[in-house]
Amino acid sequence: MEFINSHILSITTFVPLLTAIAVLLSPALSIARWVSMGGSIVAFLASLHIWFYFDAQTAGLQFTEMHEWIPSFGIRYIMGVDGLNLLLIMLTTFLTPLILLSVWHLDDKKQKAFLSLFMTLECGMLGSLVAFDLVFFYVFWEAMLIPMYFIIGLWGGKNRIYATTKFIIYTFVGSLLMLAAMIVLYVLHFQQTGVYTTNLLDLYGTSAEYSTQMWLFAAFALAFAIKVPMFPFHTWLPDAHTEAPTSGSVILAGVLLKLGTYGLVRFAIPLFPQATATFAPVMVALGVIGIIYGALTAWMQKDAKKMVAYSSVSHLGFVVIGSVAVISGGAALSAEALTGAVYQQINHGISTGALFFLVGCIYDRRHTRMLADFGGIAKVMPWFAVMLIVATLSSVGLPGTGGFVGEFLILLGTFLSSPLAGATAALGVLLGAVYMLTLCRKILFGPLENEENKTLEDLTPREFAYLTPLAILAVVMGVFPNLFLDKVRPSIENLANNFRNYKIVAEAPLESNQLLGADHKEMGH
């Protein structure tokens, strides 16, 4: 038990990687499927362990794990969980088995590679969620791009190469700038304390000159803004989504984008509080523009998947403005908005994941996603209709679904921070309904005219199996949000109230701390 508690994060993170290798080595696809499913379920169970043993009373870092990695540079293997990443870890491990289920039927030659890449991707995502060392985080953050790159590039649609190249280069540019900023921060910390470290917990205390902070924040924010993606940096997303296979889209929308907002909350904001306060209006403005812009462009789309993709731009605009809603003249963040932002990340993962799954369902049947090719599907696929409507409602933030809780809290907090921004962002609620209902109407309703649509088969049991948990979760998260919010509250309040000088302590003291300090100075200095 002791061992498990102290290594649970490594287990959660690296079981998928081991699974990926096992998948590659397994002799037949049928075995590979079971291996990957088994691995993902083990990861899920491990994350459940975290969930149940997570102490909801503290804002501290739990299940910490630390090993030396490159001690000469003060780079360590540090993992930990607190309220800000707990839910995202759960979301990742929860979505993965569902996605594996959704590709169960595929049996082309490359499928084994797909499963392996996918498990690698899971490892990358989990790693970047739990890492508490800048460089360690960066390794996962970048390494994650590779499997995603192949997933889009190998299993994507017609224009997949353009899309996947755009995806990876866009992200890479931002990330490299972030890397540079990380190093600058690291140098600053050295100049102030005489210790080289990339341990995030130590770096939180680093104070930088105002102008430096601005640049560093800009670099971090750019990297995350691209990942999110925020308004002017979003154009990779529709392409990536349109071309990616269903499973890729689900994980992309479900988790990958969240890493951007997570990064904002975990890194950019607490590391550079002054700059955050200064940049907050810009971020909010871009977020609000994104909300409205994403919604309007989504409305115009003729391709169902592209529509859902643009909807992500809009929805993540909410998360962004929720993350940077400063109140009391920049002294604190709005705890409501921050809660909403953290919560909305999960909701978006669930609802948009479901939407992509659903679009995938009809794409599998008809090999088209053009809205014009559908209409009246509700008649032949009533259960599909139920699922689509549930997902739509969750996506538009109808009360009773998780989307509402998140959006409401974000809007509330933003309103407290800036009434104008809050009110404008609230327009997104309306516009969100505009395009989502358009989607529903064009697919489900209207006359069933197309001959090919008349013989469509309703959801198969397998499809049920991966859609139902999402639908149930969407409702549960809307009705019992406190189940989740209770876990994250201390962390969020800690960040919201103290972001000006943010600190988190590790619940279990980090081991091998004795290596901090003097002996690194000899590194040529």
Partner: protein
């Protein structure tokens, strides 16, 4: 606890019908759906009686926590007081009747599980709306009923028009909902709570201690909430969805778009009356919007041919009255009209539904006529309904509408115009309702042979509820008889609601001054004007339409040709919205996508890449190939290095 069962049954019904019994026969769905409602009604009745037995003091029923973030708290708490108790009865009671009726109306459908599931869900949501103790629980119901309305309007989704109408309803409601949300935000920002009971305590005990900022905020809060009310209660300028919503099955129109959901705005304003009292400017806006809506919709209803459209505009108009009532501070009058309207408008809709069923789903009044012979019961109850709505003395509408108009007149000098608009609307009301009655039930039958053959009275499942509603429509008016009329008990209803309506101390003087005694003669005069107007316009309508579209009707139509055209096109409001809001928005969206996204942003992104390629191609072309070029580049490099170093 019984209270929870009231909520539970409709939800259970919705769940079973919607997700479990999808293969069940229509009868099973119907029985299940109706039984859930009847059970809810019974428990509601018991709860209500217990509640009144205990003295009718408002009580808060604590449920589980819902949202808890930062300082924001929104638990699932419910408030049971005289207002919500009454609404509880209206919703479950009238709801039960309509559910029963719906079985008959929908008997031709092959599978009605969806219908009854939505309908039950609607009742559940409506109950949440009226019972919620805070703005957010109310908002669940508020949006939830909107959702059910959306689903039910688009019930026959195979016709694209219906789906579009449902969407329109949802979206227009969402505009209002944004207002509602902003109201919530403002409330929380300035009062740090969104619970009705706490808010009420705060306002009433704070008395004059409210600071200026808070008072100003109240103005904005009430205005924002009123925007929400406009959406839900179909007021100008957001009423446009309601006429289109008639695309849904008629029981839906009766339950949602006449009796319950559309009154949510009035309910909400009454619930928060203590805030509205503190915002005189908002009240002025409310009253004006109500009065204008009342008249505006009534004029449109004058020339409609679709029987449900007439009723729809009539509903808008009547809602205008209620809003007017709230605007002039006569919340009990508004709510009373809500109550009576729920009865008679449900009756009218269901009656119209019977007619429609008999006419094989034809709704055009030009093809009806003379149905009295075929459908005597329906004719009789419709007659009562019409008389009730036009304010025929002695029937419920008379009392409730009269009270509102009277309070409008006495609401202060500035409200006389609103009274005038309301009175004029009443005149119109009697004209178009009588016109409806005449065109439908009197004169010659104008339908084709085939339809005529099958005309017959509907089954007891359908006319039974009608009779109950007719009795209610005729009788409930006596719950609130004005002082001037000889009756054993005066203003029972107003007294009943007294604990709910609470004028904050800050403005109490002003309102007591307004309520100072007026001469009875004035009250008689006001009432007289209404009654005379009603009588004249009714007679006019009877004479015009005694035998279908008589000469008079046609010549009037040709004389006021342009007026007629404007009215029958509903003042071109939809077209106006389309041209000035929807189309520009669509153009902007198209521009954003096609130009900003694809050309500008993506153009820059790809342009950078292409520029790199171009530079690469050019430089590799210019520089390489020749040995001497290589050397030259090196020399240029040295010169550059020198200049970097030396200059």
């Amino acid at each position: 606890m019984l209270f929870w069962l009231i909520l539970f049954f409709p939800l259970l019904g919705a769940f079973l019908n919607g997700l479990v019994l999808r293969k069940a026969s229509p009868t099973v769905s119907h029985v299940l759906g109706a039984a859930a409602l009847v059970a809810a009604f019974i428990y509601a009745l018991i709860t209500y009686l217990q509640f009144m037995g205990a003295g009718g003091q408002a009580q808060v029923i604590t449920g589980i926590d819902w949202i808890d973030a930062g300082t924001f708290k929104a638990p699932f708490n419910f408030i049971l007081d005289r207002l919500s108790g009454m609404m509880l009865l209206i919703i479950t009671g009238i709801g039960s009747l309509i559910h029963i009726y719906a079985g008959g109306y929908m008997h031709e459908e092959k599978a009605t599980y969806r219908f009854f599931s939505y309908l039950n869900l609607f009742v559940f949501m409506m109950l949440l709306l009226v019972l919620g103790d805070n703005l957010l629980v109310m908002f669940i119901g508020w949006e939830g009923v909107g959702l059910c309305s959306y689903l039910l309007i688009g019930y026959w989704y195979e016709d694209d028009k219906n789906a579009a109408a449902g969407m329109k309803a949802f979206l227009v409601n969402r505009i209002g909902d944004i207002g509602f949300l902003l109201g919530i935000f403002l409330t929380f920002k300035y009062f740090h709570t969104i619970s009705f009971s706490q808010l009420k305590d705060m306002i009433l005990t704070a008395g004059a201690n409210l600071n200026g900022e808070q008072l100003q905020a109240i103005g904005w809060i009430t205005l924002a909430l009123f925007v929400g009310a406009c959406g839900k209660s179909a007021q100008m300028p957001l009423y446009v969805w309601l006429p289109d919503a008639m695309a849904g099955p008629t029981p839906v129109s009766a339950l949602i778009h006449a009796a319950t959901m559309v009154t949510a705005g009035i309910y909400m304003m009454t619930r928060l009356n203590f805030l509205f009292y503190l915002a005189p400017d908002t009240q002025m806006v409310v009253a004006s919007v109500g009065a204008i809506t009342a008249l505006f919709a009534a004029t449109i209803a004058l020339v409609q041919y679709d029987i449900k459209k007439v009723l729809a505009y009539s509903t808008v108009s009547q809602l205008g009255y209620m809003v007017l009532g709230c605007g002039v501070g006569a919340y009990s009058a508004g709510v009373f009209h809500l109550f009576t309207h729920a009865c008679f408008k449900a009756l009218l809709f269901l009656g119209a539904g019977s007619v429609i069923v008999a006419m094989h789903h034809k709704q055009d009044m030009r093809e009806m006529g003379g149905l009295r012979k075929f459908m005597p019961v329906t004719h009789f109850v419709m007659l009562i309904g019409v008389l009730a709505i036009i304010g025929f003395p002695g029937l419920s509408g008379f009392f409730s509408k009269d009270e509102i108009l009277w309070r409008a007149w006495t609401g202060g000098d500035s409200y006389h115009i609103q009274w005038g608009l309301g009175a004029l609307a009443a005149v119109c009301t009697s004209f178009y309702m009588v016109r409806l009655l005449m065109l439908t039930f009197y004169g010659k039958n104008r339908s084709d042979h085939h339809t005529q053959e099958h005309l017959h009275e509907t089954s007891v499942v359908m006319w039974g509820p009608l009779v109950v509603l007719a009795i209610l429509s005729a009788g409930v008016g006596y719950l609130n008889v004005p002082h001037i009329l000889p009756f054993p008990a005066h203003l029972l209803f107003e007294n009943y609601l007294e604990p709910v309506i609470s004028i904050p101390p800050l403005v109490a003087d002003h309102w007591h001054h307004l309520h100072a005694e007026y001469p009875h003669s004035l009250e008689w005069a006001i009432m007289g004007v209404s009654v005379i107007g009603m009588a004249v316009s009714s007679i006019f309508a009877i004479s015009m339409y005694s035998d279908g579209f008589g000469k008079l009707a046609q010549s009037l139509g040709s004389v006021f040709k342009s007026g007629h055209r404007v009215l029958s096109n509903k003042y071109y409001v939809d077209e106006f919205y389309d041209a000035y809001f929807v189309t520009p928005l669509r153009d902007i969206a198209q521009f954003l996508w096609k130009i900003v996204d694809v050309v500008i942003i993506d153009g820059i992104v790809n342009g950078v890449g292409q520029a790199c390629m171009l530079i690469g191609g050019l430089s590799s072309f210019r520089m390489s190939g020749s040995l001497h070029r290589h050397g030259m580049v090196m020399i240029v490099g040295i010169v550059c290095m020198l200049s970097v170093l030396f200059f």
